[in-house]
């Protein structure tokens, strides 16, 4: 399926086996969140979501979104009726325009994403009411590496992912300093995903 005919195409199918596909995908996300920086393979199967939604991002959406989760989309996603129709049909999620009201945010062009501080950071009493931000199209290759330590990490783990905006890691460091408030991040790749909860301590490489 190419980008040009994506919007005209009929509604793309959801999970073939909604119960077990969602369970498998959830376990990958859970393991990723429990072990920050580790890569978790995800079997997005036969999903052919409309661009710029990717397979892995679509799988995450089908796993976690529903009527109770307001979703914020970045510009390219928001501009695609096919994407909105896909998400609404399969998950029933409300699509909103205020990032601070989002339970989840989907980012299709991370290199130009809005600052992390724009999203809901949760409150001191209810830090769980924060946004989880999902960056799609990530590759875990030759990007500047950072070092993680903290819950879920035995000693330290080195992590590289991109594309991300230039000041991204400074934003994440600031975000995680607010612990227990703050957003959590999911990095969605081609066939795997990684996660970075607010509890992780991040060390940038010396420049």
């Amino acid at each position: 399926m190419s980008a040009s005919n994506a919007t005209a195409a009929p509604l793309a199918a959801g999970f073939q086996d909604p119960v077990h596909d969602a369970q498998g995908c959830f376990r990958a996300i859970m393991n990723a969140m429990a072990r920050p920086g580790t890569r978790q393979a995800i079997n997005a199967g036969n999903l052919k979501p409309p661009v710029p939604l990717t397979q892995v991002t679509a799988a995450i959406a089908l796993t976690l979104f529903d009527y109770d989760t307001p979703i914020w989309l970045d510009k390219p996603l928001m501009a695609s009726d096919a994407v909105k129709t896909f998400l609404r049909f399969h998950t029933g999620c409300p699509i909103i325009t205020e990032p601070v009201e989002a339970a989840f945010a989907l980012i299709s062009t991370p290199e130009s994403m809005i600052p992390l501080a724009s999203f809901n950071q949760g409150s001191a009493e209810y830090p769980d009411r924060s946004t989880t931000v999902i960056l799609s199209g990530q590759d875990f290759g030759s990007h500047p590496a950072v070092t993680f330590s903290g819950p879920g990490i035995k000693d330290t783990v080195s992590f590289a992912s991109g594309p991300v905006p230039p000041v991204f890691w400074d934003q994440v460091i600031a975000n995680n300093r607010q612990f227990p408030r703050g957003i959590d991040l999911v990095f969605a790749g081609q066939d795997a995903l990684c996660a970075l909860p607010r509890s992780t301590r991040i060390l940038k490489a010396e420049v």
């Binding site: 909604p18 119960v19 077990h20 969602a22 369970q23 498998g24 959830f26 376990r27 996300i29 859970m30 393991n31 969140m33 429990a34 072990r35 796993t63 976690l64 979104f65 529903d66 009527y67 109770d68 989760t69 339970a103 409150s123 001191a124 009493e125 209810y126 830090p127 769980d128 989880t132 903290g150 819950p151 879920g152 990490i153 035995k154 612990f179 227990p180 959590d184 909860p197 607010r198 509890s199």
Partner: protein, 309 residues
């Protein structure tokens, strides 16, 4: 009412009983719990076909994470064949059709009430705790509105005062189970009513720990390799219960023991609370001091015979 039998085959209920919407809601709460270690995430706990207080929180968490390839171990008081463990294991056998086991090392998911297996858990295992009262401050301050503020402000003075009063009055911290811990240097957390003997196990544990409180509608978590410190004082450091005897059946030392009353003349023996651990040791040829005792023999033989089935 007990007959959830054939439910799985009949397709009247979803895999692992819960509907997908409920699973999603619980899964989201689990992710938040993992991201904020030790923080109690509110979730819209459902009525389950077993009573509140009998493991509905643990059951909902297990149902939300369980996959068809998982192997489930269900224990209560450290043992696989206590009545409620049998009942809850049966629930998942019937509604999810998953493989179950008594062996700690074989399980991918372990749901427990009141104990942590003696054998160290691995990275590829998940342990789910059933929690009655998730709020460690509840018995000091019954109001949720107040305790929530205390957690927000990291104001745990009340807890320290309580522990200190214990020492002043009794010479000991008079908390022997559900002993409060501080997770990742931030949240004070109730490790569920496991004896404090098990507290050291949850520090830097390789496995992911998930805690579910159904009636109180809270889920919380400790990711693998997370610092978990039992609260104490410099002059009264945290220490665990020591048994002066080994297990009567398998001779294990430094494990948690159950006291079994043998007669009404003061006869008693101490045996491993973790029944799988004990059986494995005996199968490996370890014998405890009472293994030859007729009373103990009866006790041990029953276990061995049942295992063989």
């Amino acid at each position: 009412m007990n007959d959830t039998a054939q439910i799985f085959e009949q397709g009247e209920y979803n895999f692992a009983y819960l509907d997908e919407q409920t699973k999603r809601m619980i899964r989201r709460a689990i992710l938040k719990g993992i991201a904020i270690p030790g923080y109690q995430v509110p979730f819209a706990s459902r009525e389950m076909p077993m009573p509140y207080g009998w493991g509905t929180g643990g059951v909902q968490v297990t149902a939300a994470i369980l996959g068809k390839d998982d192997c489930l171990k269900m224990i209560d008081q450290g043992s696989d064949d206590t009545t409620n463990a049998v009942s809850l294991r049966g629930f998942f056998e019937k509604t999810a059709g998953v493989r179950t086991t008594y062996e700690t090392s074989e399980a991918s998911v372990i749901q427990t009430r009141h104990r942590i297996p003696e054998k160290a858990l691995r990275e590829d295992q998940i342990i789910v705790f059933q929690v009655p009262i998730p709020e460690p401050l509840r018995f000091l301050e019954p109001r949720e509105t107040e305790t929530r503020k205390m957690h927000a402000l990291e104001d745990y003075g009340l807890m320290h005062v309580k522990l200190y009063e214990d020492i002043a009055k009794n010479g000991h911290i008079a908390t022997t189970y559900a002993y409060p811990v501080k997770v990742n240097d931030r949240y004070v957390m109730d490790p569920s009513p496991t004896p404090k003997f098990d507290n050291p196990k949850i520090d830097q544990m390789a496995a992911l720990q998930l805690y579910g409180a159904g009636r109180e509608k809270r889920i919380y978590a400790i990711p693998p390799y997370t610092k978990v410190k039992s609260l104490d004082f410099e002059d009264y450091p945290f220490e665990v219960q020591k048994f002066d005897k080994p297990c009567g059946l398998c001779g294990a030392e430094n494990v948690y023991l159950d006291e079994v009353i043998l007669d009404d003349k003061g006869g008693r023996m101490f045996v491993c609370s973790d029944s799988d651990y004990c059986e494995e040791r005996r199968a490996d040829g370890h014998l405890g001091p009472m293994a030859a005792d007729p009373a103990a023999h009866q006790f041990g033989a029953t276990q061995a015979e049942e295992t063989a089935r």
